[in-house]
């Protein structure tokens, strides 16, 4: 059993001479939430469209459930639910009627699928309001309902909280989390909102100007960018020697000629300082630091922040 649900290899998309997506290699693991983070126009939607086979791939490949979409559409699509950009529906029909059309076209087996899906996203069943009169938030919810209608194993959600109010965002976040934790769904979610990804995702991919800059698990990222002890000293090699010998510190990284980061925050700093001073090393600064994802994002995208 292969545990990678989505795998792309050197996925590239060019419009004329402009490269929108450049050699992206994504790996989405089964049962996890993968957050694709990037600014507006970074290429997130294009990547999702290529994965779904909605837009031709210029070069490279994208595999879903171990197969390429082309030719296997019927089998693979029934296992995927997706929202790409703002979802479109028939404006003259109500939400329920819209979903019924999609449910019947899919041949969904469960009789209460439409009702359940609407319940999950918090929209009324058999309402009289037509889609044309829906608010932006309701439209988005209906889009999500359509994506989960047929109980798919994989959800591909392109900015699902777009247009929702803060309470709506929190609700959507809750049930996305629940879908993953309770029902074991695999979810690929894109967003330009960093905080959203940081609370939701298990794995994260950071994309900027079509290039995947970083792909790692959230835990690893936190480890690297979360809490650490920053030690600024006059002599790095000597310090490391002391740290390794006397304190058995293995998890550290040297930043420059004077700075070292220690990721084991349980270390007794009093003892360390004492030991260093005894070895005639000047301690310029020592203390616990906390880097946010925001800082990290700025750093890897070359200075530009994100909302």
């Amino acid at each position: 059993m292969n545990d990678t649900v989505i795998k792309t290899k050197r996925l590239t998309k060019k419009y004329g001479t402009q490269t929108v997506v450049n050699k992206v290699g994504l790996h989405v693991q089964k049962g996890r939430i993968y957050g694709l983070l990037g600014r507006n126009g970074a290429g997130k939607t294009t990547i999702m469209k290529m994965i779904l086979g909605l837009t031709p791939i210029t070069s490279g490949s994208a595999e879903v459930f171990g197969r390429e979409i082309g030719g296997n559409a019927k089998r693979i699509y029934s296992r995927i639910g997706a929202i790409i950009e703002t979802p479109g529906f028939y404006p003259n029909l109500t939400g329920t009627e819209n979903l019924e059309i999609f449910a019947r076209l899919r041949g969904t087996a469960f009789p209460n699928a439409v009702k359940n899906a609407l319940e999950v996203v918090g929209l009324p069943y058999k309402d009289k309001k037509t889609f044309a009169h829906y608010s932006l938030g309701m439209k988005q919810r209906l889009g999500i309902a359509n994506a989960i209608l047929h109980d798919p194993e994989l959800l591909i959600l392109d900015e699902p909280t777009n247009g929702l109010d803060p309470i709506g965002i929190a609700e959507v976040r809750e049930f996305i989390k629940a879908l993953s934790v309770e029902h074991g769904k695999t979810i690929l979610i894109s967003s330009h909102i960093l905080s959203e990804i940081s609370v939701l995702a298990d794995d994260i991919g950071i994309i900027d100007q079509g290039v995947l800059l970083e792909e790692s698990s959230m835990r690893e990222l936190e480890k690297r960018n979360g809490k650490y002890i920053l030690l600024q000293v006059s002599d790095i090699p000597k310090t490391i020697l002391i740290l390794e010998r006397s304190f058995h510190v293995k998890d550290y990284s040297v930043q420059d000629e004077q700075t070292v980061r220690i990721y084991d925050t349980t270390l007794n700093m009093g003892e360390v300082n004492k030991a260093l001073v005894m070895e005639e090393i000047t301690v310029i600064r020592s203390g616990i630091c906390n880097d946010t994802l925001e800082d990290y994002f700025k750093k890897i995208t070359g200075g530009e922040g994100i909302a």
Binding site: I84, P87, Y90, E97, L105, N146
Partner: protein, 241 residues
């Protein structure tokens, strides 16, 4: 396929376009009747109303209305941005298009049936004694064949709309000029047989022609259908690339 047809009908719910086409059909009948009554023709000669209504309707109004209805349905998915969702189901696009065209054909027939019903009842009110079973069935056949014929004659225009990037406007102008040109084509016997709009009359039996030219007219309409099928098939290919 049945589900697709069902879905197409569902999509037309609450859609005003159906109301408007019915409204337009009734108004044509009324306008012809008014002009017929003021000109004394409708009252004096039995059968005039039923004959003239279908001619004017086919020459001026209904081809454009049916083209509008058809192109509205064809462009629907792109207009409402539902194509992505349908592709993900996945829905076979050729089947989807066939379903749409079938619904358009059904509507074309229904519109003509409605027109038949109105004109027949009016005729019955005006000259009840002149009506017979033969008149009824002859006219019913004529209207039915025209309903089918009009659909085939305008189908290339419907198929052309997606290529025009959602300009229904152009399609409408095209449909109107196309149907209205039938007036001039009917002046020459050869053109009358081969021009799609007048060919409808040849097939429906309004023009009294030979079997051969009737066959030619039928061939032309079938050719129109083939052209639109080709256009639509090509479109689906183009979208995939």
């Amino acid at each position: 396929m049945r589900i697709l047809l069902w879905a197409e009908f569902q999509k037309l719910r609450r859609s005003n376009i159906i109301m408007f086409t019915i409204f337009a059909t009734i108004l044509i009948a009324v306008i012809v009747l008014v002009s017929g009554i003021t000109g004394q023709l409708a009252i004096n000669s039995a059968g005039w109303y039923m004959t003239i209504t279908q001619v004017w309707a086919t020459m001026f109004v209904l081809p454009a209305v049916i083209a509008l209805l058809g192109s509205y349905m064809i462009c629907r998915e792109e207009q409402d941005d539902t194509l992505k969702s349908l592709q993900l189901i996945p829905v076979n696009e050729i089947k989807l298009t066939v379903a749409k065209m079938t619904v358009a054909l059904l509507f074309s027939i229904l519109i003509y049936l409605l027109l038949f019903l109105i004109t027949f009842l009016t005729e019955a009110a005006l000259h009840f004694s002149a009506l017979s079973m033969a008149v009824f069935s002859d006219f019913l056949k004529m209207y039915l064949l025209e309903g089918i014929g009009v659909f085939f004659a305008v189908s290339p225009i419907i198929a052309l709309v997606p290529y025009l990037k959602k300009s229904y406007w152009l399609a409408l102008v095209l449909a109107e000029v196309y149907s209205f040109s039938g007036l001039f084509m009917s002046m020459s016997n050869a053109l009358k047989t081969f021009y799609p709009i007048t060919a409808i009359f040849g097939v429906s039996g309004y023009y009294e022609t030979t079997i051969q030219s009737r066959g030619c007219s039928l061939g032309i309409l079938v050719l129109c259908g083939c052209i639109s099928a080709l256009l639509l098939k090509n479109l689906n290919h183009r979208q995939k690339e």
